[in-house]
């Protein structure tokens, strides 16, 4: 009894903790009391992308490449102003993009593109905001970025020298803009990528009007041979860049590490080391030789990923061996980020759309409602059937199912907050199917108790010994079920995973509820008069179960000659027989039925 109460208290503690966890997520974070829904229930667009090599073959990207691809796609989706997009990898090679609502055609196209990494010389750098067109540029000033080596900060950092505030007064235009370029048409055709002849008045005007904060800046499709107006990816600086000097595909490797001097001693500063291939080495030798001689900011080259500048280091020397290194105020993490961006920035594959699904919000909610309705109907049917089969015992089944439902709901809600789990239609199906599997644990348990009663045990001991046998079976079968869920979850893709997740979760909940609720409840109920005396409606009526008239020795082989531990309970049952039962037995015996059974089976 005490043990039973302790189990129930444990269950209360678990439920209490789940409720508290949920409450905390609602109060202190962006949690919610309802689980997040997947797109098929909420409405929205889901695109599944598969990496593909240029030749149309399926690419087998490494995990690193894939996570980089996810980062790149996230950047693209964010750049198009879509909020709350979810981007995940799936099944080891696919990328799933989930966008609420209906994205426009442009966004879709952008997502499918392969990432484009390129090196472009900087022509003009300026403050990120728009500049009133027509304002006379203040001569004699150069923007800050080019002036100090510290300006090579990678994306995401705002080193002091590059801070927009510092440049703001001087940012309108670079001082060295030559007069010819201000004319309406370029008089001289540009001789190289750094030639300011690229800066036509039209380009200048566009540059002045450009606002880094505007949402619709999409430069990812910029042609290679033309100048490009874009911003640092954190929006801190805007640039007018020359045509592509080296394309990202020429990078054969990029690593991060501590900078070393020629003697091999470490300087303690982090650096990003790039290795170009043959063609890249030549191209970079050209560009670095040219840039090192120029004034700031034209001695900077911009590393452009998908049309955004991720870094714009100053050239400090001509690099002819194809192995430049970028230094600045990196720390280990930012150096690694930049190295990864360089290494994977030009992913060697693009994406093909494997499936794109657009679910209207009405259809989504209709599916959710139908799913819930199916669940309710299923539950009611199970309850009715249990009532018919198990009478009052069915209340334990129903209460157990309700507890299981509460625990599952809380777990799913909590996991949708902590793990970003979203309930899909397949997941709902998994939950509904779980009703049957959970109820089966109770059936196995109850049938075992009945078996023990048939063997002539008293209810209290039947519950205990039935439980021991049932628990073995429940654990074994739940293990198989859980195994199926885990294997499906790890190996399968798409909807299958949502289904496997709920199936696995409910299997665990099933075990918890059976151990901490169903069994303790039965232990307690076994001591009530209603059940213990085997009321006709209790579902555990020994008379109906034939416990007495049969006598236990007729079938089950007793351990070593029928004595032992089971004997007392047989006697107990014998003692509890009513007169009516004795009569019934006598009738049976006299009619010869019992004897004939015995002789059939035993002789």
């Amino acid at each position: 009894m005490r043990k039973a109460r302790r189990s129930l208290i444990w269950l209360l503690v678990i439920i209490g903790m789940l409720v508290a966890g949920n409450a905390a997520s609602v109060i202190f974070s962006n949690g919610s009391w309802t689980p997040k829904l997947a797109l098929d229930l909420e409405g929205g667009t889901q695109i599944i992308l598969a990496p593909q090599l240029a030749g149309g073959e399926e690419a087998r990207p490494s995990a690193e490449q894939l996570s980089q691809a996810v980062a790149i796609i996230r950047q693209r989706v964010d750049a198009s102003g879509v909020s709350e997009a979810e981007i995940n990898t799936q099944g080891g090679s696919n990328i799933v993009v989930s966008i609420p609502g209906r994205p426009d055609e442009e966004t879709l196209n952008r997502i499918e593109q392969s990432a484009k990494l390129e090196f472009r010389p900087v022509l003009i750098a300026g403050a990120p905001g728009t500049t009133a067109v027509g304002e006379t540029p203040a001569p004699g000033e150069t923007p800050a970025p080019g002036e100090t080596p510290a300006a090579e900060a990678p994306a995401g950092e705002t080193p002091a020298a590059e801070a927009p505030a510092a440049e703001a007064p001087a940012a309108e235009a670079p001082a060295e803009t030559p007069a010819p370029a201000l004319e309406s048409t370029p008089t001289a055709s540009p001789t190289d990528g750094s030639d300011l002849a690229w800066v036509t008045p039209a380009q200048q005007a566009a540059f002045d009007a450009y606002d880094c904060a505007a949402a619709d800046n999409d430069n990812s499709a910029a042609p290679e041979g033309e100048p490009l107006i874009t911003c640092e990816s954190d929006g801190s600086v805007k640039y007018l860049l020359g045509p592509v000097g080296v394309s990202g595909e020429r990078i054969s490797n990029a690593t991060s590490g501590l900078e070393t001097t020629q003697q091999g001693a470490s300087t303690g500063r982090w650096a990003v080391n790039i290795v170009f291939d043959g063609e890249g080495t030549e191209q970079f030798a050209d560009i670095s030789t040219r840039l090192v001689a120029l004034e700031a900011p034209r001695n900077q080259f911009a590393i452009v990923l998908d049309g955004q500048v991720i870094s714009a280091p100053v050239t400090q020397g001509a690099v002819t061996n194809g192995k430049p290194s970028i230094t600045g105020n990196f720390d280990q993490e930012s150096a690694k980020t930049l190295a990864d961006q360089l290494k994977f920035g030009a992913l060697p594959f693009n994406f093909t759309v494997q499936s794109s699904e657009l679910i209207s919000a009405t259809l989504g909610s209709a599916q959710l409602v139908s799913g819930l309705l199916a669940g309710v109907i299923g539950l009611v049917l199970v309850v009715l059937y249990s009532l018919v089969q198990y009478r009052a015992l069915a209340t334990v089944t129903i209460a157990s199912l309700v507890i299981a439902a509460i625990v599952t709901y809380l777990l799913i809600t909590l996991m949708s907050w902590s793990e970003g789990y979203r309930l899909s239609l397949a997941g709902v199906a998994g939950l509904i199917v779980a009703i049957g599997i959970t109820a089966d644990s109770f059936i196995v348990y109850f049938e075992r108790i009945k078996d023990e009663l048939r063997d002539g045990r008293g209810l209290v001991s039947a519950v205990e010994s039935g439980w021991k046998r049932a628990l073995r079976t429940i654990i074994a079968s739940d293990t198989v079920n859980f195994l199926a869920a885990i294997v499906l979850f790890i190996l399968a893709v798409g909807n299958v995973r949502g289904f496997a997740f709920t199936l696995g979760l409910t299997t665990i909940v099933d075990l918890i509820v059976v151990c901490l609720f169903t069994h303790p409840m039965l232990q307690l109920l076994a001591n009530t008069r209603f059940f213990n005396e085997g009321h006709r409606l209790s579902g555990l009526d020994p008379r109906a179960l034939g416990a007495v008239y049969r006598g236990r020795a007729s079938f089950r082989t007793p351990v070593a000659g029928g004595g032992g531990k089971n004997a007392p309970s047989a006697k107990e049952a014998e003692r509890r027989r009513t007169i009516a039962e004795r009569k019934a037995e006598e009738e049976l015996v006299s009619s010869g039925r019992v004897r004939s059974i015995k002789s059939d089976k035993e002789s």
Partner: protein, 335 residues
């Protein structure tokens, strides 16, 4: 329901007993015939009907339309492209339009617009999916891989739990029987195989083994308790276990199938074709077949496998000899 309880009692005590293990040749024959039909049927019918997820193409679904005139959809698609459209009505008021792969994104947007206009619904209510031809293949590939890994792992787990590989073998053969039969029913009836149906197939794996484990646990218990002085042959012990768990098997499959049936009903009546219906259909068939195969294939097969063992053979011979002796004595007494 008293009679059902009585039925359970009788099965438990052995008063009433279905000779399942003894008639195993009959069950084997039925199983072989069913498998042959499941394999040949779909072949004769011209293979499985695969959903759009496997063949690739575009699907539009119009919800809440006032008219369900199918020609409106055909005309709307024809106004945009030459690709023929397959139109069907799902549920009460939804129209599903499937086409082969459309040429590009613009075209599918145009079709969507045309359909929205034809049925006079806002274009937000037109659901659009595009499925590349490799998508379904990917799902299948990963499903087959999951299947193999699962079979291997569960064979090991069962082998360890039951301490005999023969139970694993019998359970897995019964499982394969379930899968072949379920797939066969799909193939013969021409139900569309969609990824949701594949999910259903995979769940059958778990369910079928789950069911088998419960019955095998009872078999293990009975045969272990028998010891060397059993009055029953091995086959009889197995048969008793099957009979004793018959009530449980019936109760469990009814309880498991009730929610599935309600999904199937709701899915088919309210939603029409879709994830819910496809999962439920595969499960519905699978649960019935899975319960059947546990009783009629896994258990007899296990008895069959074990009866060949020397120890079991000897014990059975002794039991039968004792029984014959007792019968002879009784005859002598009565005579």
């Amino acid at each position: 329901m008293a009679s059902f309880t009585r039925f359970g009692n009788d099965l438990y005590t052995g008063r009433r007993s279905f000779d399942i293990v003894g008639r195993r040749k009959l069950w084997y024959l039925i199983a072989i015939a069913a498998i042959a039909i499941s394999v040949l049927g779909p072949v004769l019918r011209g293979g499985f009907t695969f959903g759009i997820e496997f063949t690739g193409g575009s699907e539009f679904q119009i919800a809440g339309a006032e008219s369900t005139d199918q020609s409106l959809a055909t005309d709307a698609v024809a106004s945009v492209t030459d690709i023929p459209a397959r139109v069907s009505i799902v549920g009460n008021d939804a129209i599903r339009v499937q086409t082969d792969t459309l040429e590009d994104g613009d075209q599918s947007a145009e079709v969507r617009q045309a359909l929205a206009e034809a049925y006079d619904v806002p274009s937000e209510d037109v659901t659009e999916s595009f499925i590349g031809p490799s998508w379904g293949g990917d799902i299948t590939q990963s499903a087959v891989r999951a299947l193999l890994v699962f079979l291997l792992l569960s064979a090991i787990v069962m082998g360890i739990y039951f301490r005999t590989w023969k139970m694993s073998a019998a359970a897995l053969i019964a499982l394969l029987h379930d899968l072949v039969l379920t797939a066969g029913i799909y193939g013969i009836t021409g139900f569309e195989i969609t990824p949701a149906a594949v999910i259903g197939f995979l769940t059958i794996l778990g369910y079928s083994l789950y069911d088998t484990v419960v019955v095998f646990d009872k078999i293990r218990e009975n045969t272990m308790e028998d010891g060397s002085e059993s009055r029953r042959t091995f086959g009889e012990s197995v048969n008793l276990a099957v009979n004793q768990t018959l009530v449980r098997s019936i109760n469990t499959s009814i309880v498991a199938i009730l929610p599935v049936a309600s999904i199937l009903f709701i899915g088919a009546v309210l939603l029409g074709a879709g994830t819910l219906r496809d999962i439920a259909l595969a499960l519905f068939i699978g649960i019935i077949v899975g319960t059947y195969s546990t009783i009629f294939i896994a258990a007899p097969l296990y008895a069959h496998l074990r009866e060949g063992e020397d120890a079991v053979k000897k014990a059975d011979q002794r039991t039968l000899a004792n029984r014959a002796k007792a019968a002879a004595e009784r005859q002598a007494v009565s005579a």
